[in-house]
């Protein structure tokens, strides 16, 4: 009886992990376009490019007037083993589209959260250009750090 219970618990634990690998539908990236104070065309386009990668499920991104694009994709669970490679491919494909821009691509959850916040603020027009620049500078340091 005891063995049976333990077996059941193990089975439940193992079965619980099953759905993680299943295909999660891609979340459409927020297209800011003209809504924002600062033109986000570059970011919108870059988001589409990176999201077209199979491994990426969700993406946040912001760009500024100085040709800097900040991107933070969320990678599918099992593909996280190849994070380095994914970062490289994502970076290269964006760079190919915008050769003159400086692209920052990070798979860090913190960067993702911060960019999400910035995206929302840009959409609601509650952020000034100056503050955006400051926040992005902070993110840049974080990515390097």
């Amino acid at each position: 009886m005891k063995g049976f219970i333990i077996g059941m618990v193990v089975l439940c634990l193992l079965a619980g992990c099953q759905n993680l690998t299943g295909a999660t539908p891609d979340v459409k990236p927020m297209q800011l376009q003209e809504n924002a104070i600062i033109n986000q065309d570059q970011a919108d386009e870059a988001k589409k490019i990176v999201l077209s990668m199979e491994e990426v499920v969700e993406i946040k991104g912001v760009s500024d007037n100085d040709d800097n694009i900040y991107l933070a994709p969320r990678v599918k669970h099992f593909d996280r083993f190849r994070l380095k490679e994914i970062r490289k491919t994502g970076f290269n494909s964006v760079k190919k589209r915008y050769p003159d821009a400086t692209v920052f691509l990070s798979t860090d959850q913190k960067i993702f959260m911060e960019l999400e916040k910035l995206e929302k603020e840009l959409k609601n027009r509650t952020i000034s250009e100056q503050r955006l620049k400051k926040e992005l500078k902070k993110l840049e340091d974080m990515m390097k750090g």
């Binding site: 193990v10 860090d108 959850q109 913190k110 750090g145």
Partner: protein, 159 residues
């Protein structure tokens, strides 16, 4: 000890061995593994929770949040060791509490507490790394050997 088993044993000894085997308590290996898995996993869950907490509410990234997480876990386990709670958990979970970083902290703190009566230099200082010292030595040596292998592979193997 075990190498002499089965060789040159008198019938009396053999009989005794049979008797011993009959009365020997079997180690519940599966149960121990299961407990170690659960408790060790729970410690890691706490660690992951702390990790998420640190990068969500403070200025850490996922990469840098590892440092305060480890520091907090070590602090908690040293406290628990001092209060004598960690021993009880370890009694129940076995390897589950020894393998994560908390086990390392526990081995250092408990050695320090145990040898406090022998003085601070020869007692605490001399014994604090009694168990942890071997971990450090083998870890460093293994890292050195692996680094050597990696260097050789990259330099001459063209990997």
């Amino acid at each position: 000890m075990s190498s002499s088993k089965g060789k040159n044993v008198t019938p009396a000894q053999q009989k005794y061995q049979m008797l011993q085997k009959k009365h020997e308590l079997k180690r519940p290996v599966v149960k121990n593994c299961f407990r170690a898995f659960l408790v060790g996993g729970f410690i890691c869950l706490i660690g992951q929770g702390l990790h998420v907490f640190y990068y969500t509410f403070f200025d850490f990234t996922q990469r840098t949040a590892g440092d305060p997480t480890v520091a907090t876990l070590i602090f908690i386990s040293v406290l628990l060791t001092g209060f004598g709670v960690y021993d009880r958990i370890a009694q129940f979970a076995g390897g589950g509490t020894a393998v994560p970083v908390t086990g390392f902290a526990n081995s250092v703190a408990s050695a320090a507490i145990e040898h406090r009566t022998e003085g601070y230099v020869l007692g605490v200082g001399g014994n604090i790394f009694k168990l942890a010292g071997s971990v450090i030595v083998f870890g460093t040596v293994a890292a050195f050997v692996i680094a050597l292998i990696k260097t050789i592979l990259i330099q001459w193997g063209g990997l």
